[in-house]
Amino acid sequence: MFRKVLIANRGEIAVRIAQTLQQIGIRTVCVYSEADRRSLHVLSADDAYPLEGNTSAETYLRGDKILDIALRHGVDAIHPGYGFLSESAGFARACQDAGITFIGPTPEALRAVGDKTTAKRIAADAGVPVVPGWFGAEDGEALTPAQAAGRLGYPVLIKAAAGGGGKGMRLIQKEPELRPAFEAAQREAGSAFGDSRVFLEKYMAQPRHVEIQIFGDHHGNIVHLFERECSIQRRHQKIVEESPSPALTPELRRNMGEAAIRVAKAVGYTNAGTVEFMLDENGSFYFLEVNARLQVEHPVTEAVTGYDVVAAQVLVAAGEPLPFRQADLRQKGHAIECRIYAEDADRGFVPSTGVIEHYDPPSGLHVRVDSGVRAGSDVSIYYDPMLAKLIVWGQTRPQAIRRMSWALRHFAVLGVTTNIEFLQHLMEHPDFQRGRLNTHFLEEHRILAKQAGPTPPEAAIIAALAASSESAAHRRGHEGGAKLETPNPWNTAGAWRLV
């Protein structure tokens, strides 16, 4: 078993990985950018080493700097988390060459499924239906993007070949939109993944995003740990995930699980991964892509199966067989995860930056919070705005929703704006409660960012207390008081300021 593992990541996932490693008895090493030097993940690890710079390109994407630190400090293995270098075949190979275990798939598997166009070909060859797409010159015929889009039929989706998370992604309804969106997507992909290749995909109406967690070891075992539904998305960034999916019958679950395993076997997949599918309203599923890494939403799988996915990753990477066989695995109850973002949902989800002054997450039975920040943390522009993940489990889906609503109402964050109230309203929406989900849910339903109506007097009383506790002025017998105003929305409308 490894003695020392370096976590090549930041934020909540670095904290979460460190926890499991420490529970196994492994010494943890982390790296940090200048902006992150006082962040929570630095405090959570046993050893911490600096990476000069602030942007991802200068720091967490610098496999060379990270490997250098690993070699200098006797690290046995590196866990790449998600995003950053987690799907870089080049980094996995460099670790291998340096004699350090990469806790994830092999470079070969990463190469095979990392390119989304190759992955689709592999899936099709494995007898799995795929979403129709156009992958550029590789498709044989020399079509322009406009010609290809015309053939697929609008609407079409532009997606980055080298990564996900909504970056480099655009939805095109009509031809005139195609060219500028294509260029913007290429720029975004280049900046996020260092690879600006994009491809086109037919856009399906009313689809549900359902993915299967897969796991392989180096002894030839491959299993699936059932599904997660991730249909609640904004601009292709997931916001809410759950397991089981309200849309799956036992038969569909079995078929999708088997299809996912066929894809995994075709590339000799090892360690954790996710096979993403689109499910249409007729219950037909289509392969989308393989995410060859640990995923953000893995906690819902942990909640319903009872297994620590990161611990399994470490065991497999150390050469042990998988700690579970397919026959051992069951889904129990229902789990939901909400991603807490530093975003102003009232103003188009514009990212919110600043110092967090109050940070009090909820806790209790079947309530889990994976935080990347704490009180005093500086939320900067350099990285993703996700602050934490809130995961609840219930015996049934309605119970899980009630528990999530409670948890969101008891999650106090001040200093940056968050999407917590938006999530509260989402949990209350009848279509969400009925499980009537699809990837356009947020466009089709107007979920309020803030509750409408007058300011409750109890809030105004506390504001007056706050105002008077800071002022030196005392008037006659009054302890304090203030004239307060809720801000006029015309003062800050949209992405510009009144001066």
Partner: protein, 171 residues
């Protein structure tokens, strides 16, 4: 969002112990309240038999209160009155400022160009996402004060508009 006129709140101290008692007047409400604080800016408010956990922060003239799962933002009237010189109704702007820190990617207009309401004027990038900045009314660009590749702070002035002229502007 509800736009209210100012709320007058009076807190009159009563008997003092660990829990501070007050008589409160706020709008039509006139009640007894008990506030117990832990630290400087968090605690519990007991009002009319209900208990509310609260947290607050203050920055300059803005106070934010978290209570019952919601965040409420307040501005102190005296400062607001100093700042705003405009009347009511949809305002027009004289400049475009950066809504958050980030990098300027592309300028879609130049000095002297006329633009329409909601037309993308500047593309900027923040937190790895691109966004287009626009203005809810039309006008003409007076001065461009930024360039592609430039890192800007929140509130940085990016464009100045030409002041009202006799020329008809696009809608």
């Amino acid at each position: 969002m509800d736009t209210q006129e100012g709320l007058e709140v009076e807190l009159n101290p009563g008997e003092q112990s660990l829990k501070k008692r007050y008589t409160v007047r706020c709008g039509p409400l006139h009640a007894e309240a008990t506030i117990q604080t832990i630290g400087r800016s968090e605690g519990w408010l007991s009002l009319n038999g209900e208990v509310f956990a609260f947290r607050w922060i203050r920055s300059n003239d803005k106070i934010q209160v978290w209570l019952s799962g919601r965040v409420h933002t307040f501005e102190l009237v005296q400062r607001t009155a100093q700042r705003s010189g405009t009347g009511h109704g949809p305002p027009t702007s004289s400049q475009l400022t950066a809504p958050m820190p980030g990098t300027i990617l592309k300028l879609q207009v130049k000095k002297g160009a006329a633009f329409a309401a909601h037309q993308p004027l500047i593309i900027m990038e923040s937190m790895k996402m691109e966004m287009a900045l626009s203005i809810p009314h039309g006008g003409r660009i007076g001065e461009v004060l930024c360039k592609p590749g430039q890192l800007v702070e929140m509130g940085a002035v990016l464009l100045k508009l030409e002041s009202d002229s006799d020329e008809p502007l696009p809608a």
